[in-house]
Amino acid sequence: MNEQISALLDDEIALEDAAHLISAVLKSKDAAQVWSHYHLIGDTMRGNAVLSQHFKQNLMQKIEIEPTVLSPNAALVNQVAKVKDANRLPTSWAIAASFAAVMVIGFMLLNQETNRGNELAPTEVAQADINKDAAADDGIPAEYLNAHQASAPSASAYYIQTVSY
């Protein structure tokens, strides 16, 4: 099935012979996913040739250069856009907030459990936290290392898994 989808995308199966395949893709959730994955992979592999490396940079720069229209209506539109932006932000915050909540609950549970086990636990937990901070401080900050390697990749950036957030 997957091979047939791949063949269809590669133009190895004629469209008129693929009616059953397309209906299968439409019916099966798994097949639909394979279909979209293959498209994504194909687009990124081919995408190299389609868009120039600085396409996004150039586009962002062009947008920056665009003159701002000074009319009350334009200002209103901008305001609406800003409100929309403000509305958009919380989605990422929501994830961060829920992650933070999980962390807090996890920490509370951990505290409770260690408390039950040992009277001296709170100081131990605090100690462990200090150690953890020190350990996190040990390496090179990942955010800068990743930014450096994205713009000036070295051998380690190619072959060794980079830190994920």
């Binding site: 962002m60 051998a155 060794i160």
Partner: protein
């Protein structure tokens, strides 16, 4: 009288003869130097222009990874696939300087886009002028790597601002077979060495596609917003950069966890790269000062004129410190 003049003439001849020998040896020395750089130049070109496949080992610190490489030049373009042969098979595809990395992470395969043209064995730039300023080359012994005869070359750093290298070049193909990076105490920081290598006699591109795992989700990495920077610094300038390092890139980017955009400059001496980040301090960010060195990578951060300055690069600690101190704020 006649006798004396004869001796004089003989003496003059002897001096002239010596001079000729001396000049010849000087030019022979220059020729030998040129020949050595030619070997390196050939290695730089061969890595891009030949079609080959093999397996090499990347080693740094405690990390050691076998990597399978397939590289092809079909007359029009350059295609390469690098597969890290471990339990999380990372696949790196390059087409010219454009890279697409398939990076398995748990139930996902993250697709990352990068730009770079210095993947082994193509670690040398095809223009060696910048390297000649900061490194000197001397001949080593003939050796064997991956069962193939190789010529060893020392690329020594002229100062303590960068690491030194040893290269083993295939006598027949001209390809780089082995590269070792060393610090000033001659300790190996990183080594990359072919275990097996052969030339390819095909222009078929069948292999230039990822192995797709249908059980995984394929997702694009979150793209980082990067704005090209025209390079006119506002409020600061650079003075006293480490010798041999040139600015090769400048941009404004978002850095993970930072709310404000960061100015990012990249410097290179032809082999080693250093990144300089300059950002205004804000209340939400704790200022950071200090330095670290992990493997061959050094890090330095300082605060100056309410700006956070951060430098990262595959260079000794003194070099990142010098780059950070080269940022001068206008009064």
């Amino acid at each position: 009288m006649v006798f004396i003049s004869q001796r004089l003439i003989a003496g003059l001849f002897a001096i002239a003869g010596l001079l000729i020998i001396l000049l010849a040896s000087v030019s022979a020395q220059a020729n030998a130097d040129d020949d050595m750089w030619q070997v390196l130049q050939k290695a730089a070109v061969a890595a891009h222009a030949l079609s080959y496949q093999g397996i090499f080992y990347y080693q740094a610190g405690t990390q050691s990874k076998p990597i399978q490489i397939t590289h092809m030049f079909n007359g029009q373009g350059e295609f390469a696939r690098n597969v890290v042969l471990d339990n999380t098979p990372r696949e790196v595809f390059s087409q010219g300087g454009d890279l697409t990395i398939f990076n398995p992470k748990n139930e996902n395969v993250v697709i990352e886009k990068r730009h770079g043209q210095n993947m082994f064995p193509a670690i040398l730039p095809t223009n060696l002028d910048l390297i000649k300023q900061s490194y000197s080359l001397r001949l080593g012994e003939p050796d064997r790597v991956a069962g193939r005869p190789a010529q060893m070359l020392f690329l020594d750093s002229k100062d303590s601002l960068r690491y030194s290298y040893r290269f083993w070049v295939d006598v027949q193909y001209g390809l780089l077979l082995k590269s070792v990076m060393l610090n000033s105490s001659n300790e190996i920081i990183e080594s990359i060495v072919f275990n097996q290598l052969g030339l390819m006699d095909t222009v078929d591109l069948d292999w230039f596609q990822p192995k797709i795992d249908s059980k995984k989700n394929y997702v694009m990495e979150d793209e980082v917003v990067i704005i090209a920077d025209n390079g006119v610094p506002v409020g600061w300038s650079l003075k006293g950069l480490p010798s041999g390092f040139r600015k090769v890139d400048q941009m404004i980017r978002m850095v993970h966890g930072k709310s404000l955009p960061v100015t990012h400059l990249v410097f290179s001496d032809g082999l080693a790269s250093v990144s300089l980040f300059i950002e205004p301090l804000s209340k939400s960010i704790k200022p950071r000062t200090g330095h670290k060195s992990v493997g061959g990578t050094s890090f330095y951060s300082s605060v100056s004129n309410s700006y956070q300055i951060t430098v990262v690069g595959e260079v000794p600690e003194a070099t990142v410190a010098q780059v950070a101190n080269a940022v001068v704020f206008k009064k």
